[in-house]
């Protein structure tokens, strides 16, 4: 059983970190576009912003467990099957991209508007404003966003266990629920609580260290 739980823990960590990574790769550019395409943004493109925003809202409004099932054909296309670790990652990434995009959007919205104006008057291109002002100024918020995404995905990954997604959630459902092994159920919960605490505190530590606005 110990072996099972250790494997489950590592599987969950793998699923969560890989999906966070891909969700960031997908969500960061979308979040940036949501900000700069706004009517008052640095590269206004109102229709683009509206389309992107409704896509984000649509995906976010689908309950995750339904999304996993709805994505089965797509998942099969990408990784060859609709269950297991790889399949979980596909579903989690699709579910998390809009989430990350909104978090990035709100992180960038916190950047001082006057500073953006100042950068424009200094002759910065839109690309330079994104890379050298928006992203640089929101580094602490972006680091916190990574931990928020990871923690959300720990929960979502457990949900993927319902359809054989691998990791701790899978174990909790197969052993804890279906075979009435309450001890397994409790242990998976304990492990996940510890996992969430560790993610939260380590990323908070990094974010605080990177935050130059603290005297």
């Amino acid at each position: 059983m110990t072996e099972l739980l250790i494997k489950g823990t590592f599987d969950t960590l793998y699923i969560v970190s890989m999906s966070t990574l891909f969700a960031l790769i997908g969500g960061l550019p979308i979040g940036v576009l949501l900000v700069i395409w706004q009517k008052n943004g640095i590269a206004p493109f109102v229709y683009g912003e509206k389309i992107l925003s409704s896509f984000v809202n649509t995906v976010r409004s689908i309950p995750f467990i339904i999304l996993i099932i709805a994505l089965f054909p797509f998942t099969r296309l990408i990784v060859g099957r609709s269950y297991g670790i790889q399949a979980s990652i596909v579903a989690l990434v699709v579910g998390a991209i809009p989430f990350v995009a909104r978090l990035v959007e709100s992180a960038l919205a916190e950047v001082d508007e006057g500073l953006i104006k100042a950068a424009i008057t200094m002759g910065a291109t839109s690309w330079q404003i994104v890379v050298k002002v928006y992203l640089v100024e929101s580094v602490p918020a972006l680091i916190r966003l990574v931990s928020l995404t990871m923690i959300t995905l720990v929960g979502y990954a457990a949900m993927a266990g319902v359809v054989g997604g691998g990791g701790l959630g899978d174990i909790a459902i197969r052993y804890g629920l279906h075979r009435y092994q309450t001890d397994v159920m409790l242990l998976t919960i304990v492990i996940m609580v510890i996992m969430v605490q560790l993610i939260q505190s380590s990323f908070n530590f990094i974010a605080n260290r990177q935050d130059r606005r603290r005297p």
Binding site: D112, K117, A124, V136, R213
Partner: protein, 248 residues
């Protein structure tokens, strides 16, 4: 030489039309130290937005030597903006970057080499009197020090015009004096054209050679500080002077 020529700008609301700039014209010679003063709503902010090339006029234009600034597009516009240095009331520094990196910012935009940047930034840090503060972050600086960083940043790309938008309005009296002294010193050393836009009479009196008084979108007086303030002609100038005396 900067020539503001019949510059007009109005803003339309649903049922009202506000004329923010009403056919204003003025010449600003190279190396001048000019103050533009007016109460709030006089059109100062709109003028600044035009001088900093982030707003298009309804009609009229601004010439820099032989260049019509509002005909510039794309790359040319970016290049021209880089030749203007602007100091803002609210500093607007990068909070996540230290003093050195903030001053280097405009130079990085034009992809200057690291060694050249270092040379230029070191010069500027000592010019604005921030020696030893290169590694400090804005949060560790006082208001006056932040404005020094902003001035150094505005001067980084060796602009032909240094535009100061209410540069001391967020500062106390003592700090205001030190920032104004700095501007005068910079003017003496570099002969850069400086335009200070403010609502504070004392600022204009302390540093400027020439003053333009703005009221309701127009330039109502234009002359040497001495002449305008000793024999004011327009009601607004008298009001500004009277208000000041009443305060003292």
């Amino acid at each position: 030489m900067i020539r503001i020529e019949n510059l007009t700008k109005s803003f339309k609301n649903e049922n009202s039309r506000l004329v923010a700039l009403n056919n204003v014209s003025a010449n600003i010679g190279n190396g001048e130290l000019l103050g533009i003063i007016g109460s709030s709503g006089a059109g100062k902010s709109t003028l600044i937005r035009h001088l900093s090339l982030i707003e298009q006029p309804d009609s009229g234009t601004i010439w820099l030597d032989e260049i019509d600034l509002f005909k510039l597009k794309g790359r040319d516009l970016l290049r021209m903006r880089r030749q203007l240095g602007i100091v803002f009331q609210g500093y607007h520094l990068l909070e996540q970057k230290n003093v050195y990196e903030n001053i280097a910012f405009p130079l990085q935009l034009v992809k200057m080499s690291k060694t050249e940047i270092k040379k230029r930034v070191d010069e500027l840090i000592s010019l604005v009197g921030l020696n030893g503060k290169a590694q400090a972050y804005p949060v560790q600086l006082s208001g006056g020090q932040k404005q020094r960083v902003a001035i150094a940043r505005a001067l980084a790309s060796s602009p032909s015009l240094l535009l100061c938008d209410e540069p001391t309005s967020a500062l106390d009296v003592v700090t205001t004096k030190s920032i104004l002294d700095l501007l005068v010193e910079i003017h003496r050393k570099t002969q850069v054209t400086i335009v200070i836009i403010t609502h504070e009479l004392s600022v204009v009196k302390a540093v400027c050679q020439r003053v333009i008084v703005m009221d309701e979108g127009s330039f109502v007086e234009d002359g040497s500080v001495k002449q305008v303030f000793t024999s004011p002609k327009h009601e607004m100038t008298k009001l500004l002077l009277g208000y000041q005396e009443g305060q003292l």
